[in-house]
């Protein structure tokens, strides 16, 4: 019973921050709308290119041109939810380096969760709108498929956030890893938006472990095409494992954290 209570409290905590961040973004309404529209246009341009490409040069091994829509929709929705809810994760390394965690250590909530949800990227809402729009308008899914899509996008969001926490937490051990985290995020998002059929051998292995692009796009694509419970269990298991690794790395690193003696307040 207490676990359920804790879960509800945590969800309310995340929800409160999400609303507060959204209200803060809406203070600059024109800029917010411009960012959202720009991101929708950006994603649509890429999808248009790849749609054109794969219609012109279809790949073999059962590849269909609509598959690129699924890949882009899941990856964009996952990335969008990740950056809308856990929008502070890209800044984790900088916070660790500058003693920015001080403001969170004295708070009663879980430090990592609190740090991650403090900020939100307004343009992420554009990614979410694009992804949901593209999935509904191009693929016309039934309600069950749409529910599965949302579940998989949520898991992809957790993978994106955990990935950034892992590379951000390296700052506890290696110094400033902000640039590394950014580059790795770039690699993860890039690999996630291409068909997995084109990679083989060691690269494919890396894409299901260190840079888990396979779980962001390939496994969701398989599940949306031919659903199977074992594959969904595998996807969920990997997501939980990846989140656990991220939390473990942060907790381990936090023991080495030195305060910046910085006078400041959480913003």
């Amino acid at each position: 019973m207490s676990i359920i209570k804790n879960c509800v409290r945590t969800l309310r905590f995340i929800g409160a921050y999400l609303v507060a961040n959204l209200q803060a973004a809406m203070e600059y309404r024109a800029a917010f709308v411009a960012q959202v529209i720009t991101m929708i246009a950006n994603d649509s341009l890429w999808l248009f290119f790849w749609w054109t490409y794969f219609r012109q040069f279809p790949l073999v091994h059962g590849w269909q041109s609509t598959n690129i829509v699924v890949i882009w929709a899941v990856a964009a929705c996952g990335f969008g939810i990740g950056m809308a809810v856990f929008g502070n994760t890209p800044r984790l390394a900088a916070l660790i380096m500058n003693g920015g965690l001080d403001a969170y250590l004295g708070m009663p909530r879980n430090v990592l969760l609190h740090v991650c949800i403090t900020a939100s990227d307004p343009s992420a809402w554009g990614d979410i709108m694009f992804a949901v729009g593209a999935f509904l308008l191009i693929l016309h899914p039934d309600p069950l498929h749409f529910a599965l899509f949302l579940l998989l996008a949520f898991q992809a969001a957790l993978i994106f956030a955990a990935f950034l926490v892992i590379f951000g937490s390296l700052a506890f051990f290696l110094g400033n890893t902000e640039g590394l985290a950014q580059q790795m995020l770039g690699a993860l998002t890039t690999f996630s938006t291409y068909p997995m059929n084109i990679f083989t051998g060691v690269v494919r292995l890396l894409l299901f472990t260190v840079v888990p692009a396979g779980f962001v796009s390939f496994v969701p694509l398989q599940l949306l095409q031919r659903f199977s419970w074992p594959l969904l269990a595998g996807m969920t298991g990997f997501t939980l494992l990846f989140v656990a690794v991220a939390v473990g790395m942060f907790q381990l690193g936090l023991k080495r954290y030195e305060s910046g003696n910085l006078l400041g307040m959480q913003n």
Partner: protein, 281 residues
């Protein structure tokens, strides 16, 4: 007693020469500044490795699935070297719009306007220095990767000689566009969205992922006629597949784009400068 005879032609030439020296010095300082953080630039180039690797795998799969050795006039070797050339230019773009935007919003612009130099040319020299460092490192990293993946390129000497000129003009077109977008900070809450859209149009319609020949008609002709193709597709194709008539056409297209863009930039700058308020204190 020295008698100075005023010669209009010589005076103008001397003025141009002094200006070139001045902005040349700004560019050298910018190059030195960027070389001081050369590891960071190398770090950025790693993403180029990822992109070129993925795209080369994609093209390999495409060639093998069609059982072809040449697609739209490009072999796999041409295609990978084209990608390296295009990504080298695309990924060398510095955050010019953000800098101009911040200078306008913070009021830093007012201090820079007081200097004995043109604000536009000062920024151009600084931009060029930064971009040349990034371009060179990207070219080195990309070339090593292409050599490993597909071996030596089949460039012609004319293509190699023409590439620096058309690439320089492409960098100038980029400057004119992103500088103008940065100046929009005088009127809009944020300019990053405009810069992102211009950048994406340049990448997608400018042929960063593949030569424009792969597009079906009429999209191909439209993309080739648009100014975005003069930034990435034109220079990269010139290097990989040099053709004299296409090169001359590209030069004209670049010069016209630059002239029109330059006029727009000057018009925006003139109107924007009138909105600057300088207060003492």
């Amino acid at each position: 007693m020295d008698t100075t005879i005023w010669r209009p032609g010589r005076g103008a030439w001397r003025k141009v020469s002094l200006s070139l020296q001045k902005y040349g010095a700004v560019m050298r300082v910018s190059i030195a500044n960027n070389l001081a953080y050369v590891m960071e630039v190398f770090f950025r180039a790693l993403l180029l490795v990822v992109l070129v690797f993925i795209l080369s795998q994609l093209w390999r799969a495409t060639f093998s699935s069609r059982g072809a050795t040449v697609l739209s006039g490009f072999s796999i070797n041409d295609m990978v070297w084209y990608l390296v050339a295009a990504e080298t230019i695309a990924m060398s773009l510095p955050a010019l719009t953000r800098r101009i935007d911040q200078e306008v919003r913070s009021g830093q612009l007012a201090y820079l306007l007081g200097r004995p130099s043109s604000y536009i040319f000062y920024n151009f020299a600084q931009y060029l220095g930064e971009r040349l460092v990034r371009l060179t490192i990207n070219a080195v990293v990309g070339s090593i990767l292409a050599l490993i993946v597909v071996g030596l390129p089949h460039f012609t000497w004319m293509g190699i000689l023409a590439w620096p000129l058309v690439t320089f003009l492409a960098l100038c077109i980029d400057f004119v566009a992103y500088f103008s977008i940065g100046l929009l900070a005088f009127w809009t809450e944020e300019t990053a969205s405009f810069a992102l859209i211009f950048s994406r149009l340049t990448l997608v319609l400018g042929g960063v992922l593949a030569p424009l020949e792969i597009f079906p008609e009429p999209l191909r002709s439209i993309a080739q006629a648009l100014p975005f193709s003069t930034i990435l597709y034109g220079p990269s194709r010139t290097l990989v597949h040099f053709e004299l008539d296409r090169f001359v056409l590209l030069l004209w297209q670049q010069l016209i784009t630059l002239a029109v863009g330059g006029l727009i930039l000057l018009a925006v700058y003139r109107v924007a400068i009138r909105r600057v308020n300088i207060n003492g204190g």
